[in-house]
Symmetry: C2
Subunit: 526 residues, 2 copies
Amino acid sequence: MELHGRSIVGGAPVFEDGGESFRAFDPSEGREFGPEVFEASRATVARALEEAAHAFDVYRRKGADEVALFLESIARHVEALGDELVELARAETALPVERLKGERGRTTAQLRMFAEVVREGSWVEAVIDRAAPERKPLPKPDLRRMLVPLGPVAVFGASNFPLAFSVAGGDTASALAAGCPVVVKGHPAHPGTSELVARAVVAAAEESLMPAGVFSLLQGRSPELSLALVEHPRTKAVGFTGSLRVGRALFDAAAQRPEPIPVYAEMGSVNPVFVLPGALRERGAEFAEGLRQSVTLGTGQFCTNPGLVVAVRGETFEQFLDRTDELFAAAPPGTMLNPGILRGYGEGVERLRRLAKLGAGGAGADASRTQAAAYVFSTDAETFLDNHELGEEVFGPSTLVVGCQGVEELRRVAEGLEGALTATIHGTAEDLREYAWLVRALEQKAGRLVFNGFPTGVEVSAAMQHGGPYPATTDARTTSVGTAAIKRFARPVCYQNFPQDALPLELRDDNPRGLWRLVDNRWTRD
Amino acid sequence: MELHGRSIVGGAPVFEDGGESFRAFDPSEGREFGPEVFEASRATVARALEEAAHAFDVYRRKGADEVALFLESIARHVEALGDELVELARAETALPVERLKGERGRTTAQLRMFAEVVREGSWVEAVIDRAAPERKPLPKPDLRRMLVPLGPVAVFGASNFPLAFSVAGGDTASALAAGCPVVVKGHPAHPGTSELVARAVVAAAEESLMPAGVFSLLQGRSPELSLALVEHPRTKAVGFTGSLRVGRALFDAAAQRPEPIPVYAEMGSVNPVFVLPGALRERGAEFAEGLRQSVTLGTGQFCTNPGLVVAVRGETFEQFLDRTDELFAAAPPGTMLNPGILRGYGEGVERLRRLAKLGAGGAGADASRTQAAAYVFSTDAETFLDNHELGEEVFGPSTLVVGCQGVEELRRVAEGLEGALTATIHGTAEDLREYAWLVRALEQKAGRLVFNGFPTGVEVSAAMQHGGPYPATTDARTTSVGTAAIKRFARPVCYQNFPQDALPLELRDDNPRGLWRLVDNRWTRD
């Protein structure tokens, strides 16, 4: 498919944009390629949102089946892009082909999962309190509540998941599933991948007879474009995955609007891992190997990368450090997503080098091919507690091991942590009983607690929580992975004393959609 | 009980505060009374939050029964204040004794309702996805998610509900139920009522063996105090009911914190009422009477007061206007809560007088006794659409009737509305079929849609939605009335591969609390 390098609004490329442009960049070759990609103008942003608002009136009234078929059609059209998509994504991101195929599978599985969620329908949280006209002193009205969609959603594609958290990724799938049109700002690190997937979404929208404004793609890389998208009055919510700096800027812009809107920014985190004494003693070497794998997986470019390891010092701790040093010394370099991310990683590593002790790493990275080396650093708890910067995320394949003098110091490290997406404990059954307080402490710090595992690898399911206290996200009450992500794009509406035939199907007495509903305080499908 | 006029922190009055002070004010007499009330200093704010954070570590681990008993104990201690509370509240607010007794009943019923919610326990939204160790290519982990409390919550008492939305009102009850300590900023219009209720909460905390920091009351009236409370790093969420100006200021302060926190500000709204042709024809006079009652109820001091009536012009419309004029001309004046609110009402009425046509009203109000007269104004849709100020809330017993040339103009009025707590439709069954589009339009504008009723009167139940798009609230995804209000003060945590005995009771296989849970995508109590 020939790429046009244009934003796509209302189902068609925007040839009017003629200002700034850029090209795709192959990080492993260190060179630009592909057609000129034109930055969306302010007028294009406005048109995308106006079309989305217009489409919203139609789209939110579509039946659940129509929306589900649309999502499934997107999945099919993405699959139909075949090897061309995988090959282009590989060239733009340097992610391995197998990883990209897996990510494509995750993307289409997410779309189909949300189709199933929409078709099943109970996600609208229907609650019915039936009338009690005889109640004294006042009759009780008939009240029926359900979730309705918020309106057009701005989605920002992430660089590290060019498929699963990008144009047709989790944010887009969950917003469309909720009944919201989507305007995606494509990540400039993979413009061709964005265009291919956007064209698949447009084809699916056409096939499914959806209004053309239900989906748009804006190409560009200026901060002004991102702000214009968040500040547009038709935008009603924002989904973002990326850096703290950019996420916070979008959050601030949204909070300062005349009408503030929710921003779901997932901004990564340091993902602390606590290794308790029994685990260190019984399987320290095994843990070191698991850590090395988790830290270097995907060249460390995961929001859930374990950037901090905390343990109590002693003989087995020293053995563990030696083993980690060996493993990281032997770790091969990996290609990062783009030179900007490599630069950020370099700065993070310099910070660690300045404040902590280098254990091992740094071998054989060729910067002209955007390669990064793996590193492991170590420090003592006192230094860690005195240097707030040591607790900040370094995006890439490095980790910092903090050795504590005893349980009390470990407790202070745990309690001083910033919000995180995940927190992990490695321990024996006995460790866990002794450190029950640590579980309670980490509940306050993270959205997901992992026992005897590694935080990389985020299951897409109903119980997943991918989110956490600030600065991990701007809204710890929500998840950006799993079926619950749909709830971010909806709000409740209550109907008081409405006749049956004026109610949405979801709230009628005969429950024609067979939903799970809370009726007079009891869950039922009757 | 002798009032001390002091803030209460950690279960004891703060005698250190010695700066600014003020007194209670009896609006119906137009005079100050009672002891000096001392403004909480910055140090007192900080101490309240530190005590709350300390209490949180204990409080969030209390069993459901202990928390439920605590809430029920608060209800009993509030009731034990007897006539003294009602009499003092009457003097401070000029609300009638019967209304205050009803409000007390609502307050204690809310506390008991949340006790029941906590005891039943399903509010934590437990979701369990069981492991599939054999899954290919990767085993599926065991994932279990539930809601956990956010931390200390700042609650701002509202002037118009000195009991039900004040010290032990809905925000406090739902935050305590969620497991969050509460620091209340008492409304300066009822400092004695606040103190009495706070002492009841403190007595209940002592009786229930709760940590002393679980509840504090801060007295004061400076904006700096409110901001200090919102900006304190230990504060994790804010509940507020009051004006748009103050609510927005608190929201802005919270959004600008290094760690932003959620603000649930309910800021009132204009609560539009659409009267469709059939209803106007069949029962215009009856509607006029209902409207007059709803507008003047409680001297119009409800967030859900219907400040806007929209209808299509014609013969029956003119008859309706005449009837409303008659009714409002005969409406007696009412005493407002305080001179500040009366002043705000006066400004609002002046604005309406300047931009619209006075129908009737204004009779017999004595400003020295803080009395307000009822007013009805009217205008045409064109004037309404051209003057944005006409769509803003006037807090008090006035309403504006907008006459439309036809359905198209009525549609433009509906689509141009700002966010509201409620929107009401009066119509016949036939009207409702013809105006189905109006229901769909109003779903986008309000949190609760009322059919053939009036928006005043907010049921406290599971299906209630008291909230709506900005500027009605700062978070349309939540409600401040009803059992769902508890969810504002919690966030999900997911436990991955945890052994049974390290899991919270709510997530264990044997479901010892008998909760409704979503297990492998199916709701069950097994």
